[in-house]
Amino acid sequence: DVKVTQSSRYLVKRTGEKVFLECVQDMDHENMFWYRQDPGLGLRLIYFSYDVKMKEKGDIPEGYSVSREKKERFSLILESASTNQTSMYLCASSSSRRQGLSNYGYTFGSGTRLTVV
């Protein structure tokens, strides 16, 4: 079964810590995305990547960075965690190929609920 795996379901970190959220996909997808989800605000795009070592800012990149050294792995980094980064973080991937079942739709991971105290 194809999937996107996020390394942690729940995470508690202290203010000022450097936090790494890991995401791995096994579908050979070119595109990977990081979103945060907050009540009433829906999904907001933080960063995305359409190729290895490529990254682009989304709508809310401040306070975050990303790394994509291998095609299957996309990491989100909180350089210095703050309480306003407490949120649900969702990773997703998609294919750029027109053929296949995806037709550009996303496959999501299960999410990481991060609490910064």
Binding site: Q6, L41, D51, S94, G105, Y106, G109
Partner: protein, 117 residues
């Protein structure tokens, strides 16, 4: 720019009754449209998509959606609701023509569906 509107934060329906969750979109050219469902503390799961062809699209768990180009709508429907359908539903859109890397989907803010006995 592309956008999605889900005008209802919450929809309440009795079990066995039909349900509709509304979605309207704005995009340049022809759209790719998607519905996703999210259960508590989980990632988003794909329900159905409209790419081309019949305006009535059938998806998972008995859900269907009707594409209406003139009204730029893609409402999610189910003839008979179940309590287990209670979840958060997201509509998403992207244009057919690639405008840049990443194949980004734009999501609505979500509609909470509550099905009661």
């Amino acid at each position: 720019a592309q956008s999605v509107a889900q005008p209802e934060d919450q929809v309440n329906v009795a079990e066995g009754n039909p349900l509709t969750v509304k979605c309207t979109y704005s995009v340049s050219g022809n759209p790719y449209l998607f519905w996703y469902v999210q259960y508590p503390n989980r990632g988003l799961q794909f329900l159905l998509k409209y790419i081309t062809g019949d305006n009535l699209v059938k998806g998972s768990y008995g859900f269907e959606a009707e594409f209406n180009k003139s009204q730029t709508s893609f409402h999610l429907k189910k003839p008979s609701a179940l309590v287990s359908d209670s979840a958060l539903y997201f509509c998403a859109v992207r244009g057919v023509i690639l405008t840049g890397g990443g194949n980004k989907l734009t999501f609505g803010t979500g509609t909470q569906l509550k099905v009661e006995l």
